[in-house]
Amino acid sequence: MALGQRRYQRKSFVIPKLQITSMMDMFTIILIFLLFSFSDNPEKLHIEKGMMLPESTSQIDCNKNITVSLSSHSLKVGNQQIAVVNQGVISGFDRHHPEKSKLYKHLMSIRHNLDSRKDQENSAIIIFCDQRLPYKTIHQVVKTSGMAGFPNFQFAVLKK
């Protein structure tokens, strides 16, 4: 009797269906989130660790041209470190003679390269700057950029 029952149980065994409803729900949520954060021109911009960009109402997309990154501890052009920043003071930078600074020389070499290629479209500088820095630090970079032939620049901000 017991054997017969066991045989009957084996015959009626149905392969269990995988319950994917909850997985579908999860995927739907992820899909909606990703659709909302979809960007038609995703830019890969490297932001310094610990850098806090200010928020702004600006709606203008940022163009990835020459990136100058000014954080509370370093000044970089592209990925190259130009100077060390310590308590808002850029090392090796004379406020009255910005043309002697490494930043000026570096930007001038970029300017010459752009001029030789007659490339005026990519001649704007985008400045990534920490929101906690005082104007005296930013002004040194801005002034030097202007002197090196980049009077127009963009400040990178986070969308409000």
Binding site: T21, F27, F38, P42, E43, P54, N63, R132, I138
Partner: protein, 168 residues
């Protein structure tokens, strides 16, 4: 009754929707959207530093009958000084725009500045440039906030060309 329930079980068809193709589609869509998703929406503010103006450029402005004025926001440690510059408006009219606003504690009176700029824009609608002169210790965040209120107010454009300058 028993027979009825047995018949019902036999006739019962599987009504589950086959979600496997949808899942497959999701699996294709999600990596694609992940690769083009932007988690930080970085925008930009166009700014410039003052450049030496040629005589030809300034003459262009004078030949134009529409008067232009440049508001100046001088951000100091404990107050904001507002005034206007123009080579097309006489000194007496420019003097009307001299205003000094004190800080409310640690906060700059940005709303008052915006009202001031709105009034100026009403009187000189062709003006589009503003000069911001921050003090050495003004934080970058405050400068950006000032730029924001100078460029737009309630979807109306005020002075879109922001020029950052040192004390002249």
């Amino acid at each position: 009754m028993k027979r009825f329930t047995r018949n019902k079980k036999v006739n019962e068809t599987d009504t589950d929707i086959d979600m496997v193709p949808i899942m497959n589609m999701f699996l294709v869509l999600i990596p694609f959207l992940l690769s083009s998703a932007s988690f930080f929406d970085i925008n930009a503010i166009h700014t410039s530093v003052p450049v030496r103006q040629t005589q030809a450029n300034s003459d262009d402005g004078l030949s134009n009958k529409i008067k232009k004025i440049i508001p100046v926001i001088e951000m100091k440690a404990n107050k904001i000084e507002l005034y206007a510059l123009s080579d097309q408006v006489d000194a007496k009219n420019l003097m009307k725009w001299d205003v000094s606003l004190n800080k409310n504690g640690n906060i700059f009176p940005l709303a008052d500045i915006q009202i001031y700029l709105q009034d100026m824009k009403k009187q000189y609608p062709e003006s589009d440039t503003i000069l911001i002169i921050p003090d050495d210790n003004i934080l970058y965040e405050t400068i950006i906030q000032t730029m924001d209120i100078s460029r737009n107010s309630n979807q109306h454009q005020l002075f879109p060309n922001v020029v950052l300058s040192d004390k002249i």
